[in-house]
Symmetry: C2
Subunit: 213 residues, 2 copies
Amino acid sequence: MQEQNAAATPEVAADDIQTRHQRRMARKKAIVDEKIQQAQRLTGVLLVHTGNGKGKSSSAFGMVMRALGHGMKVGVVQFIKGAMSTGEEKFLRRFPDEVQFHAMGEGYTWETQNRERDMEKAALAWEQAKRFLTDPEIGLVVLDELNIALKYQYLDLQQVIADLDARPEMQHVAVTGRGAPPDLIEIADTVTEMQVIKHAFKEGIAAQAGVEW
Amino acid sequence: MQEQNAAATPEVAADDIQTRHQRRMARKKAIVDEKIQQAQRLTGVLLVHTGNGKGKSSSAFGMVMRALGHGMKVGVVQFIKGAMSTGEEKFLRRFPDEVQFHAMGEGYTWETQNRERDMEKAALAWEQAKRFLTDPEIGLVVLDELNIALKYQYLDLQQVIADLDARPEMQHVAVTGRGAPPDLIEIADTVTEMQVIKHAFKEGIAAQAGVEW
């Protein structure tokens, strides 16, 4: 018992922790370094953010910020959303040389209740998306809430996939919205499902500027 | 059979679809409107983005964009990350009047392998975070990768929680990083778990500018 107590003096314990920590981190570094070594291919990636949780669109707009930081040009098309002027729209309109921003207008589909008009709007928005998807100068294309337009079959999924496939090799695309169709997930490189663990809305807290819009 | 065929002329079918669509959307609108009616409380929210999937930090930076669009001031502290200059850092440093940006330096913890130095850096970063968390002029505080610092016990969780609780009433905070501690999830308003469905890295595609950094 006495020996154990002696070994547990603060200095020795701190040394132990540091040694263990160092060993653990060295192992981790070796694994991470090897993974990085293996992942060397540079190519445009297709990302899909889906699920019911918060963070799908905001994550795409965080990528816009990264892209702008690296001097890339960005194209944004917002499907479905658009009646309300959002923070991201207000902000990005400050950089017309770097970001082309197109909001489809009309707001959420359950506000309009007019399928035909929604389909026309969606078709126009996809025309804009195609202009971005054929322009190699644009490094990142955000197709915000595209999954909703696909879910309601406002757009033809196979045509959308064909246009995504035909884009410039180094162009990144981020698609957001609940209920991403399986065929889109299939052709995507990175797919994240945002899952709700809890949401302030359920506690009676309003959607607020800077958080939800 | 003939009657059925007659009823399935394109015009009638389109009308049916539109009627069904309208009814479904009207129901949805009623539910959404009622929820919005109930969720009226305005207050600063604490958001936690956790899980192994992509989108935790980028979603926080998307919120930064929203906040800036609404004229709010923003404070960012990056824990753990920082050796590499990221796109978000380069971009946000263009707006020194609107964004205060502090990167902890030193890179990921498995690069340094020095627990004591990491703890000192984390403590300094938390001092900066506390300056933001006591400043009512700052509408949004991003504590990027704080969960990693908590996981390695570089910071005292109960102190962190106390400081978060004591912040100005209308201030929003976004905390990111894998493995958010249960006590933090407990006090958060909105928690999203980013789940990996697939990741380009596993297919040998490198982490790239505008996507991962």
